[in-house]
Amino acid sequence: MQEALKDAGAKVTLHDVDSDLIPAISALGDGVVWPMLHGASGEDGSLQGLLEMLNVPYVGTRAREARVAWVKSVAKAVCAREGVATPDYVTLPQSLFREVGAEQVMDAVVAKLGLPLAIKPARGGSALGVSLVHQRSDLNRALVHCFAYDATALIEKAVTGTEVAVSVLGTGDTARALPPVEISAHGPYDFDARYNPGRVEYFAPARLDDQQTSVVTEAALAVHRELHLRDLSRVDIILDADGVPQVFDINVAPGLTETSLFPQAVVAADLDLSTVYASIVEAAAAR
């Protein structure tokens, strides 16, 4: 991303989120901040809130909306209101298992959602702490793994189908979806698959017909608009066996490394990365 922006003629400096950040931002002059931090504070609206307080133009979704997108249960409720399907789920804090009895709660979860289940830390990213559970007997272990990352677990019905990531560019009514990128993993698309090339085959654009492409891009655009996401986002969707797009993740700060999904979509759209990134920065600067 940095290289692409430099190619577009921008001057780019990198800063960590530490005690040097505010002085660095103060010295920025008429520049723009592009938050690149993943996980909490980068995606939960904290960093964005700080930038708003400092009155600095920045790229991406505003603090309030980032917070909504970050809390998966709230984001899912918004999706449901707008008719966008998301996999059935429950969010349960560890304390509930303690108070009510773990085995009974787990039985109730399986009775409601069935198997297989995806177990995720309620807050987090990069597939850390995520497990796919096919048997009830594996649920205990998956929850222990998950609770090592967060005190609350998001337990989701694991939907099978074609997994695509739809990147969206722009804001509001002028937002446009880029071609979906299909993720075809041999085995689960877990941490190992994401960070070790080989187990995953990416298709950009996805192997979908026009109607399917339209269904998934409409779903991503609806999410982007209804959650008031700004500049860029990536919506992860499984097109299930009935052809229904199930939104299972929303990223307000999509990965932008050379192997990430967003840049793959830009290239699949026959767009130039430098030009796209520069236009994102210009939009932020003009605000």
Partner: protein, 439 residues
Amino acid sequence: MKDLAPMSTSDRHGTRLDPWFDSYAARAHRMRASEIRALFAVASRPEVVSLAGGMPYIGGLPLEELSEMSRRLILEQGEVALQYGGGQGDEGLREQITEVMSLEGIAAHPDDVVVTTGSQQALDLVSTIFLDPGDVVVAEAPSYVGALGVFRAHEADVVHTPMDADGLIPEALDKTLGELAAAGRRVKFLYTVPNFHNPGGVTLSAERRPQVVEICERHRVLILEDNPYGLLGFDREPMPALRSLSENGVIYLGSFSKTFAPGYRVGWAVAPHAVREKLVLASEAAILSPSNASQLAIRAYLQHFDWQGQIKKFQVQYRERRDAMITSLEEHLPEASWNVPDGGFYVWVKLPEGLNAKTMLPRAVTARVAYVSGTAFYADGQGSDHMRLSFCYPTPERIREGVRRLASVVDAEMETVRIFGTSGGDDGDSVDFPSPDLA
């Protein structure tokens, strides 16, 4: 994902983001990024108290004097320092190395010494010249993660043999070697860290040293003696090296990384004559020659600085840190158990019943404290009930804070384990690939 029939363009191929994926050697496919490595990326942040890495306390060195030494080195010897050197290493340094080793009873000639890029490279060279796929290396249980990674990269099988508070147990070693011979396995060497073991913290007793040498001689098994910490004892004189008991049966590895500075990456091997010849050939094939600049810097340091006095200072500093760690463990984690090392860098902690150190690590990193899971130190999936804590790098105050955080992590994990009735560990955990974070 594959159930949905591909559409109009079904015969397309996707990208794996690595155009050379199909070209790798089979062994490269085992080199994988892991969740543990991702966590260690976070662990290096300043707000995290890292009790994980074996980084020496460089702040204890006379940095101003060393910078002057470096300046003069380039000024006065730049044409040598910045040039290639000999494959075996600088002769003057090799002579000084023999003096260093004499402190542990080794009488070696400079010709016996091969200078390497840290003793990690020496481990690689020894493995290159001795290990065929399927050969066996016998190693202590537990054993240094960096060595296990090298042996695995050479496709050897590691068989562990137990230790107690006095190090390797001779009877158990004899039995292990006997069983392997009876099973028709080719054991190429015993890998051992006899002093202030990494991660175990224990030292092989003086009585057992000749026994270990005798057992290996009887089984015709070479000893690979890895000794980076031997001079870092707190309360006693260095022990005689195994190499001092057998010139032909031991390859000895030494290092300046823990007694001086790992940034120079200078270590060495001392080997029987014929082995040494092969080590030099293998080293030249790998790196042509070790860094002249680093070797001359170490030479100057040994010549012009009171390096033994510096080691004594380190001993005092490390002892203070060990004490901080032990008293903090006694105060905050009485339900765990540990050894009290009398040198080196590490305390090997046994977790309370039912906890899994590998599963607990994310919780620890979230609580801003890091350690190395015991599973890293076994080739066979053991070790989840242990963790290695390093006391070398953080200040005593930070160590106390780190152990305090760790205690709350252990409490929280105990509750989770109680609730779900499992420690959450996977069966068949494998070793993680070593990295500087785990040195």
